[in-house]
Symmetry: C2
Subunit: 211 residues, 2 copies
């Protein structure tokens, strides 16, 4: 049985998944504060702390369960080059995926194996071949389109996503990077599957039907 | 005990509350189809049909209960001039509010009493006086900021809203009128109170805390 293709993202109530990028902004504090507010549901979770080897503490509860389930269902991930570049500087040695990760990029590069089971594969021929390779690697588990937003949207607009998983944060951004900017609404019809208020966010799941 | 000030709107997953207005578009079918898709949870409800005297049938269930509760908690409404102008042409004689409605407008006009208990009052000195009059009229029931989007946002940004009530529809618009376009995010902090998946939408409630 083949797995599903899904993405899982944290979105502000007004539709943003990241603060506005200001390359010339020497002060990263505003950016970081806003991003932390959006993502704050995940940091205290036991699964998050364990997975990043920050310690054995942390909260348990629905938010933790959902973070863990998202990890456990994922047999392989796909990400864009931009997300990889940022992550390459930010992830610990022991990168938090612990599965194969397929990076859509023009850069030719040998697979990059990290301790703990994460191997990055660099795919040069577009989003569909990257997804095919991820499906193969995932076996009967699911493929997660990990990000960034532009990569998620490319897959959505190509009709390649089976399921949206959104942690809707009780936060307003006012500006920033919108998850659904440029979505091809004529292509995607959604069916809601779950809406669950957890202590910190609302977990929404939608399955995609073709129109 | 004074009531709360709230708004209640149906929003697409990507943040829109209405399709794009194209004044020069002779074909209103696209607009109407998109708007109907967004609002489709409300039309089949028994409360909706009763309130507009469309008949005594209709669905019962959580969507119906929530539509009825929203109506019953409302002691007075406030709306912008644009919404009033559109409604004046669209509402039946027996307008669906059945309470006083305060219209924020520059137009001077005598109160307009409709059969069934709706009286429109035209307030010329801005959003705060309109709200004050609505509070007075509502007694211990709540005041609903009925719309449109720009009026709701004026009240949000002025810090005058206690509660957001959003029916999140499993629909993507891609373009249109955004509920939170121009929100003053530095002003509003939210606490989530409810997230309930009904058969057709997800009902979200947030209370507002000042930052």
């Amino acid at each position: 049985m083949a797995g599903k293709v899904f993405f899982s993202a944290t979105m502000s109530l007004d539709g943003f998944i990241a603060p506005e990028e200001r390359v010339d902004d020497p002060d990263r504090r505003r950016w970081t504060a806003q991003w932390m507010e959006l993502q704050q549901w995940i940091f205290p979770q036991r699964f998050f702390q364990e997975n990043l080897k920050l310690g054995a503490g942390g909260e348990e509860g629905r938010d933790n369960d959902i973070a863990r389930e998202t990890f456990e269902r994922t047999g392989a991930s796909v990400m864009g080059k931009r997300m990889f570049d940022l992550g390459e500087q930010a992830w610990p040695e022991d990168a938090p995926f612990h599965t194969p990760v397929f990076v859509v990029t023009h850069e030719k590069r040998d697979p990059w194996e990290r301790p703990g089971g994460t191997t990055f594969h660099f795919v040069n021929d577009g989003i569909e071949p990257a997804l095919d390779q991820a499906r193969q690697a995932a076996g009967d588990r699911d493929v997660r389109i990990a990000g960034g937003g532009a990569t998620i949207l490319e897959y959505v607009n190509a009709g390649l996503i089976d399921e949206f998983s959104i942690a809707l944060a009780p936060v307003l951004f006012g500006s920033g990077i919108r998850l659904f900017e440029g979505v091809d609404a004529s292509r995607v019809a959604l069916e809601q599957v779950r809406a669950e208020r957890s202590p910190r966010v609302t977990h929404l799941t939608y399955t995609v039907r073709e129109r």
